[in-house]
Symmetry: C2
Subunit: 149 residues, 2 copies
């Protein structure tokens, strides 16, 4: 019998579910950087642009709900995108508390350059299609479950 203190097994790194989640997210996001640097975007800017490519126009609040980010992260990020000419930021006329983000023509044009990125990064993630689908399903189940706390 081992003399290890098994009452602390729950605190071993290899028994954590959160740790591989944390590490895998970090490592996969890192794989985007060589491709994203070619179009002058960071990963967070890229997912914000994804929403804008789809919607063209959105409030900071609603964008934050899509991305699970708050204005403390989004404000400097959107200012950076504005500086690069990919978006404009202006207050809503009907409610001046609301800041509306709109994609520019320049921003829409960026989509053509970005279209190959998902496939390029996807090839780094060496899992089967079934596993990818299962992972996707479980991750959204976790995200859904966390919201109601």
């Amino acid at each position: 019998m081992k003399t290890d203190e098994t009452c602390y097994d729950s605190l071993r790194l290899e028994n954590q579910l959160c740790f591989p989640l944390y590490a895998a997210a970090k490592e996969v996001v890192k794989k985007y950087n060589p491709f994203l640097s070619e179009i002058a975007l960071t990963y967070t800017q890229y997912i914000a642009m994804m929403v804008l490519w789809d919607k063209q126009e959105i409030s900071v609040k609603e964008l934050g709900e899509y991305l699970f980010l708050d204005s403390g992260t989004l404000t400097p990020l959107l200012k950076a995108l504005e500086k690069k000419g990919f978006v404009t930021r202006q207050r809503s006329e009907s409610d001046e508390r609301v800041l509306i983000v709109k994609i520019t023509d320049e921003g829409m044009k960026l989509r053509e350059k970005a279209v190959l990125i998902p496939q390029q990064v996807g090839s780094c993630v060496k899992i089967d299609e079934d596993e990818a689908n299962e992972l996707y399903r479980i991750l959204y189940k976790i995200l859904g479950g966390l919201k109601n706390d």
Copy 2:
């Protein structure tokens, strides 16, 4: 037939695997904060302590390999843990390039307070045991696959 530009479907947020991975990791780590703040640790400090609770003594390099973190992250983190009295940092005598991190008695004592945390956070992640096992397996498969690039 819809007039949407389906050639850009790969760039829709809901078609990404990386995004829910990124968001779920972030949101789950956030769930640790109320518990970790009671023992004056951040999440990253907590996973570093996990390795130290297990090994008592380790080089910065080896610690970084366990955690997927480099010295740029670990150096300030370990200095913070040293300041709180949980670790000591000293150069190896045999090779002065190597910095050895050792856990203190104070640091070991912290484990007793931390032992309930995995269960407390686990209850926030509302997935079955089977799903948790499957998620764990797929995440480590991804991490393993990324290393050989």
